[in-house]
Structures are given as C-alpha cells and as structure tokens.
C-alpha cells in the first residue's frame, strides 16, 4: 500500500513547483509512466485501487503547478468504464486507458438530443478532445463512447482565456451509437453519471485548492522580496492581514476538501458546495495575487494571470457557485 505522503513526494518531484504549466503532452506521458492512470482503478480490474484520497492528492498537486494534462478527466472516464456492465471489451478499454489512451467527457450536459440510439447536438466544454480517442457521451439515460474520428463527429476548439486548459465543442450529426460502445443505459447510466459528477466536482475542488495554495505562496514570497519605502512590502501590516485572511480561507477549504474526500456518504450536493467554496477561494486568492503584485501582475511574462484565468475557468467548470450553493441551501433547508 502506497502512503499518501509518498505519492505527494513523487508528484512534487515529477512536477516541481517552479515549473508552472508544463507542456501537456510530456506531462501526460509522465503521468502514464508514473502509473497514475491506474491509481483509481480497483485492484480486481488490474489497478491500484487507491481511491479518492489518492486521486484528490494528485489533483491538488496538479493544481499547484497549473498542469495542462487532463488527469482528472481521464480518471473520471476510466471510472465510468470500470463501472460498466455492458461495455464490450471492457478489459481492453481498462488496459488501454490505464496506459495512456485518453477518453474525454462533456463537462456540460446541455444541448444534446437523443432519438433512440441516434444522437445529435453539440457537447460543449469537452476537455482536450484533440488528444482523445473517444468522448464519453454522458446524457440522461445513456452513457456511451463516441469515437472522435467518426464521420458524424466534428471537433472545434474554443480558445480560452485560461491558457493552461483546452476545451472543445464536439458536434454530433445523427451519430448512431455503436452498441459495443454503450457503457450504461437507463437507471444504471444515471447512477454512474452521478458518481462521475461527484468525482468531477471533487477533482476541480482539489485543483482549486492546489492552485490557491500555490498562488498564495508566490504572493507571500513576492511581498517578502519586493522592497518599497526601504523595507520589504511584507512588513506592512495591511498586507500581512490580507495574506493571513487568504491563508485562513485556503486552509479551511482544504479541511473540507479532505473531509469530503474521506466520507463515503458524502452527497453530490455536498461535493458541489465544496467545489463552489474551493473555487471562490481560488478565484479570490488570484484577485488578491494580482493586486498585491502591483503592475508586474498585469504582464503576460508574470505567472499571476495564469493562476487567475485558471481560477476563473475552474469556477465555471461543472457548474458555477450560484447553482451549486442554491442546491446546498435547499438541502440545508430540508435537513
């Protein structure tokens, strides 16, 4: 059994904090070599079965370095395949996805119409479709793999402010689902979709916490070295308090992150609320990061904007705070 701290050490060695936003394809290869694509897969299916603690740890570390590689997406789609009871060649799929074949997913479920097994519409916000062999189409009552090289499929990148991630629109024109590629249908599909959504929310929350922690570290380092008025800026109490507030918010959100990751009974509403909290903390940390850097934080050559733009995208992926908090409010009211 691998200790979490060992996993963290390995992650920090492979992805050192001083190399922000390392190249995607090289990172992906490294991720596959490190065996992280097997980490979540149950042992009886050939994986390491380390569970949510381990994946959360990795996502925090990937958030810290603003990783471009779609690890979270890969683990989510792989989990769907692992849970499938209908997929032909399931063992082959698990083998391939744990060694580097990438299957992506639509982070947004709107805009799809289903007519029996024929699908039309645009899947918005599909990460890294350019490096994926398939997209895991996830819609009400159906989860299925769609090959991205099919004639009925077109893929178009939507350039983002966030330079560390890539999202695509995947458009399906009367795409007939291959029966061998159906992952789940009906109630089974909805149950798997709910699990995937939890993983998605937890993964983004972890990414946000890692990003926020790194953004604060960089800001504090800067304030300690930047001198104005014959002293380090860090000596101004007004700025100390700003950083102390950020630290407090990050640590408190981090505590909730780990509490939820460890709780098998956590609900998807709770994961959503966690995601909303973590992303707001990340967003606000980057807002302060730029302000506290002064002019230099507004330049492309400085990394502050990479954090800010990633935080903004995290905020919206898999649902914005308003919707997630509203659900949490309803749940609290009903409790």
């Amino acid at each position: 059994m691998i200790e979490l701290s060992e996993l963290q050490d390995a992650a920090q060695k492979a992805f050192p904090a001083d190399t922000l936003a390392p190249a995607r394809d090289a990172s992906w290869q490294l991720i596959a070599e490190m065996g992280w694509l097997m980490i979540d897969l149950p042992e009886d299916l050939g994986g390491l079965g380390l569970g949510r603690d381990a994946t959360t740890m990795l996502h925090v570390e990937m958030g810290r370095v603003l990783s471009r590689a779609p690890l979270a997406t890969a683990l989510i789609t792989q989990r769907a395949l692992a849970l499938s009871e209908t997929l032909a060649d399931k063992a082959g799929w698990l083998e391939r996805t744990s060694t580097g074949t990438f299957v992506t997913i639509n982070y947004d479920r709107r805009r799809i119409t289903l007519d029996g097994r024929t699908v039309s519409g645009t899947l918005p916000a599909v990460p890294d479709a350019d490096m994926a062999s398939h997209v895991l189409l996830c819609t009400d009552g159906l989860i299925a793999l769609v090959p991205l090289d099919a004639a009925s499929v077109t893929v178009r990148e939507r350039p983002l402010w966030d330079e560390t991630r890539r999202l695509f629109d995947v458009t399906l024109a009367d795409h007939a689902i291959d029966p061998a590629l159906v992952v789940a249908e009906g109630a089974a599909a909805d149950a798997i979709a709910a699990t995937l959504r939890e993983d998605m929310l937890l993964g983004i929350a972890a990414d946000a916490i890692g990003g926020a922690a790194a953004a604060l570290d960089a800001t504090v380092d800067y304030l300690k070295t930047r001198r104005q008025f014959d002293r380090p800026l860090a000596l101004f109490q007004a700025l100390k308090h700003r950083c102390a507030d950020l630290k407090t918010r990050i640590v408190a959100a981090d505590a909730l992150l780990w509490a939820r990751a460890a709780d098998p009974a956590a609900t998807s509403v709770q994961f959503g609320a966690l995601k909303a909290l973590a992303c707001e903390v990340f967003r606000f940390t980057t807002q302060e990061m730029i302000q506290l850097h002064g002019g230099i934080g507004l330049t492309e050559e400085h990394s502050a904007h990479l954090f800010m733009k990633r935080a903004m995208l995290d905020f919206w992926l898999a649902g914005g705070a308003d919707v997630l908090n509203e659900a949490a409010g309803r749940a609290a009211l009903a409790a």
Binding site: Q228, F236, A238, M312
Partner: protein, 397 residues
Amino acid sequence: MDDTASLETLRADVRAWLAANAPHGWREAEQTHAEFAASQKAWFLKLVEGGFAIPHWPAEWPGGGRSLAEQKVIYEELARADTPRLLLSFVSTYHAASTFFECATPEQKAHYLPRILQGEIWCQGFSEPNAGSDLAALKTRAVREVRDGREVYVVSGQKIWSTMAQYADQCLLLVRTSSEGAKQAGITFLLMDMKSKGVDVRPINQIQGDQEYCEMFLDEVEVPVENRVGEEGKGWAVAQATLSSERGLTLMELAYRMRGAGGRIAELIRKAGKENDPGTLAEFGAIMTRVESACAIADRFIENRLKGEERVGDASIVKLTYSRVLQDFALLGLRLGGLDEQVRAPIVFGDLNTGNWMADYMNSYAWTIAGGSDEVQRNIIAERMLEMGREPKNWVL
C-alpha cells in the same frame, strides 16, 4: 457661477456638435493597436477643431477657459454619446499641460503647448522597476555635462509602465541628479524627446492582450539643460503638479460611463432568463446603487473644488470608491455571463465596461493599481484624513 441657462445652452451645443461629429463603429474599426492609435489621434484632432478637447486649459487657448461646471457638462455629453475616451492624448492634455502651466518657462510653454493641440503625444516616465508606490526611490541617473559645446543631462536608467510610450513624441521624465539628503531632494524633472539617441521603447504584453504601456531603456540619452522644468533637485514638487493635474473629472466621466454600461448587465440578465430571479436582481440593484454613489461622490468632489473646499483625502475617496465598484461591476458581469465568458473574445483597446467581462475585469486593475494603488489611497485616507498617524519610517527586518 454659471447660471443654469448658459450650461443648458452649452449642453445643447455639445450635443448638436456630437450628433454631427461623434465617431460611430470605432470599436469594431480598431482591430489592431496601430488602428486604435490612429483612430484616437483623429478623434482628438476633431475635438480640438470643435473646441471640446481642452476645456480645462486657460482661456487664451481655443476651447479653453471653461469653468469646472462647463467641463462637467462636456464630459457628460461625451460619455452620453459613447465617444472614445481620449487615452492617447490624456497625458499630453492633462499631465504635460498642467506641468507647463504651473511650472514651465515662457519659452517652454510657447514651444510645447501649441504642439499638443497639433497632436503631439506625451508619455510619463516616472515609475521604475524598483520605484512604484515609492516613486521617490527612482534611480535613473542624470549627469550634467558639456557635449558638443552644449550643456546637457546625460541620462541612463530604466523606466516602466509608461502608458502609450510607443506612440509618444515627448516624455515627462523624472531623474536623479543627486543621492544626497532626502530621496525627494535629488530628483529633477526633464522633458525628453523620444526620438533622442539612446531611447529604447519596448511595449509590454498585458494579460488581456493589450499593449497599453511600455518599458523604456535609457542609455546615455542627452537632454538639453533648457529642457529642465523647475530647478535642479526640485523635480519632486514639479511632479506633484503633474500628478494632481486631473482632479476628479476623469473619475466623474468614468463613473458616468459605468452607469451607462449598466445596460450591459441588464442584457446579461435577460439573456440568462433571470429577469425574475430575486437574488440576481438584488445584486444588480446593489451594484448600480454603488455606481450611483461613485457618481455622487465624484460630483460632490467637483462641487467642493468649485467652492474651494477640497480637503486632504477627498480625491482618494473618489478614486477608491470608483476602483472598487469598477472591479465588482466586472465580476458581476462574469458571474452572470457564466462559462461562455471564459472563451477568449476580442478586446476593445484600453476601454472599460465593454461587455467583454474578462477583459473588463483585467482592465479594472488599471484603476486599482495605477495612479496610487487602492492600498496607497487607504493609507492617505487613514493617515491624513482620519489622522491615524503614519507607519514608522525606520523599520527594518
């Protein structure tokens, strides 16, 4: 005092002139930064011609000699007609001009002021990599020498964040002529021709894709001694005249423009189908009320100035109110716009409240950082207005 009737006549005149002359479709036409600069220049010259470019200059200048109340009317109408803000000529007509009016020799005034109206562009070379909020720490050296029979300052050093320097013909430059005594004491104010040998200007890439400001490397640049404003070593006082050149009117104009942009948020609300969502409406109402209060505090500031009753810290309150609302306004736009706003969309160069909410958010930092950051304004309000005392000067780690 201006009577209401004459102000209303002026308003009607400006409105009529704008109806005939205000540019349309300028946002779409400015696809490149160079096009932006060209369109800015053309609009400035048009305004000069119309007599509305320099209402704040003295009366001997065509279009000058306007009272503060009249200036306010003109800015209100410019904002109302959605004309481009004068970004390229801003430093020329405010910072450079007020430096000349307050501190320059008759020869300097006669030489430089008419050229501003012909479109000569000025930039401000004050900040340095290690002299931002602490401007007096600037290190760019100027040594007085005789070269080719001329007395010159030989200037070497680095300036940064110089707005529009890539288009500038002239530069308001702060240099260090002595390291003795207080930091402020060794500073001298020079006027530097940007075409001088040894001036190397490099635009800085900003995070929203604009290139509003530049780095400036100065390598043994020769500036004639006659181009000094004020005495040697007395440049700090001249710089204060430069920095206090526009007091309130810009912020009033900007606050009014933000009020006009409230419609963009309304548009988002409708697009999202949230016209009946109480939470969204409450937030919209709250931000628009803050915008109103930013307009009101700018108005009051100007009224107090008209009466000669400006107090220490008043300007800081106006600026801090505006900058905080501006940033939150963009953040509300982002919240209502959702995931779609994260897709990179074209920007309007140098503009605020454009409805490209990510760009608007990034641009809001120009107002929370430049021209005395929010933190510096808070220090002024706390230390000078609330008289809470200054932080000790002699701290060390």
